[in-house]
């Protein structure tokens, strides 16, 4: 059986020098895969490249055995890939409900089932459905952002630092939600700074450094790897 997502030998960047130097990534259908690495390693860049937000100069991205290299975001969404950027990931003047509706813009038919599914996962969003997203706290906004992405019933959810700027309590909750989402059969690919916690819930992890793969292993093995620990887990 083919992988859900497979990226091979990616080279590319924001127009200047390549940031990605032959990055490889793979996500299986039911996995949580975490990308960790020092600042400037190209973690977010790799995610953006996979989702078609910046040009891949060389290399290939395959989704369910279909080449999607440099496809437009719209085509990614249609295929069932959802992406949550790290910052500015809500529509601030829209209500929570409208934010969610925008996530499903390309989906035809009644949205109520999709909305119910998101509200079940994030009951707080149901309470606040009429509130403007821009007026919510960082943690609530992150829920809106994830909820928006889940509205397409994705097979692959890509999260760029979902816990950035959150309190420890909210970080725990976010990781719990991610596990719940994954338990519904959604593959998760995420970039995380909270490497220890992220690797603890991950099936596999990648350690990127200067745009290329440094290590690839199961979450626990990476955590136990002294070289990885020394590099950035803070010893």
């Amino acid at each position: 059986m083919s992988s859900l997502l497979e990226a091979k030998g990616l080279y590319g960047g924001y127009g200047g020098a390549d940031i990605l130097q032959g990055t490889n990534l793979r996500v299986e259908a039911d996995e949580i895969v975490v990308i960790v690495g020092p600042n400037g390693a190209g973690k977010s860049t790799a995610m953006k490249a996979v989702f078609g937000l910046l040009r891949i100069r060389e290399g290939e991205v395959r989704y369910r055995n279909e080449t999607i290299t440099n496809a437009k975001p719209e085509q990614m969404v249609r295929r069932g890939i959802a992406y949550v950027p790290q910052e500015k990931n809500v529509f601030p003047s829209l209500t929570v409900r409208e934010n969610l509706e925008m996530g499903a813009y390309l989906m035809k038919g009644d949205l109520s089932q999709r909305l119910d599914k998101v509200y079940t996962l994030f009951p707080k969003l149901a309470e606040r459905r009429r509130q403007q997203a821009g007026l919510m706290s960082g943690g609530e906004r992150q829920m809106v952002a994830m909820g928006r992405a889940l509205m397409i019933d994705p097979q692959l959810l890509m999260l760029d630092e979902p816990t950035a700027g959150l309190s420890p309590l909210l970080i725990d909750e976010t990781f719990e939600r991610i596990q719940e989402i994954n338990a519904q059969g959604i593959g998760v690919l995420m970039v995380e700074q909270n490497a220890k916690q992220a690797l603890a819930i991950a099936n596999r992890g990648y350690v990127l450094a200067t745009g290329s793969n440094r290590h690839e292993d199961t979450g626990p093995n990476l955590l136990a790897n002294p070289e990885v620990a020394e590099m950035f887990l803070g010893g």
């Binding site: 937000l53 969404v77 950027p85 500015k88 003047s93 409208e98 996530g103």
Partner: protein, 289 residues
């Protein structure tokens, strides 16, 4: 007191015209990130299209309104497709200069086709109602219609923005362009609808202006400054702000004639705009700049 009420009515009529223009300017800025300098000349062209329509079919003056709105919606989309779309991915300042060029082209076209003399929709004089219960204040039926139709159009825009999928997508794009693209919102389609609405409302503004006063080739260009002032006052990129801004600028301009000569009306709009840019540049409703 009657004077003030009378001026308030004139202000609300002018405010209606400005609002129609400012909603379009604000929406276009929100989605495409440039100040559309040809918007005043969209108003002019709309007014003249209406004139040709009613004289061709021998209709009464208000028939100019639907003709101008439909005509300008089509022309706005056409201009976007042939000019602005090609330079969409360049810097906003290039779009701004291009729209300035388009303004000059449209104005010259109007002069070429309709001449540079003043024209009117109807030659007769309309007798105002004398409202004795309001201290003998006078109200022209046309003025009442301008205010009522503006109200209807504003309500229509509101319903579109809050109730329809495309309208919400328009607000979403104005909020966060990148996230809109990531969500799969079709940008070109939203842009097209923005021009349809902006063009139609500019056409309405032109006809209102023509009915209120007269038609001449610079009628829209001279109205552009207060229209921009209204859009900036309300918070550019925020269509609701444009409504508030339009009314405030319109009423202020008319009220100012109590204190200063009427020729300074545009200066009042300019002063409010400058003051706003100094004190609260984001506008009444937080704009997208």
């Amino acid at each position: 007191m009657t004077d003030i009420l009378q001026l308030l009515i004139y202000g609300l009529v002018l405010g209606s015209v400005l609002t129609m223009g400012a909603i379009g300017v604000s929406m276009i800025f929100g989605i495409l990130r440039f100040a559309h300098f040809a918007h005043g000349d969209f108003m002019t062209l709309g007014a003249y299209l209406g004139l040709s329509f009613i004289s061709a079919f021998g209709l009464s003056s208000w028939w100019a309104l639907p003709a101008a709105m439909v005509g300008m919606a089509v022309i706005a989309v056409f201009i976007d497709q042939v000019l602005y779309r090609r330079i969409r991915r360049t810097q906003p300042v290039i779009l701004l200069i291009a729209s300035f060029g388009m303004a000059l082209i449209l104005r010259s076209l109007v002069q070429l086709i309709w001449g540079s003399d003043n024209q009117t929709y109807t030659s007769g004089i309309q007798f105002p109602w004398q409202l004795d219960w309001l201290g003998g204040m006078r109200l022209k039926p046309d003025h009442l219609w301008i205010m009522l139709i503006s109200l209807g159009l504003v309500a229509g825009v509101h319903l579109f923005l809050t109730r329809t999928r495309l309208g919400k997508a328009m607000r979403a794009m104005s909020d966060n362009m990148d996230l809109a693209l990531i969500s799969g919102i079709p940008a070109e389609r939203v842009i097209m609808v923005t021009w349809v609405i902006g063009g139609a409302l500019a056409g309405a503004a032109g006809v209102f202006l023509g009915i209120d006063t007269r038609l001449h080739p610079v009628m829209g260009w001279t109205t552009l400054l207060p229209v921009f002032a209204a859009a900036i006052l309300g918070g550019i990129g925020r269509p609701y702000g444009a409504i508030a801004g339009g009314m405030i600028i319109g009423v202020s301009m008319e009220m100012s004639t109590l204190l200063i000569p009427a020729a300074y009306k545009p200066a009042v709009a300019f002063a409010i705009m400058v003051g706003m840019l100094i004190l609260r540049p984001q506008g009444i409703f937080k704009g997208t700049v």
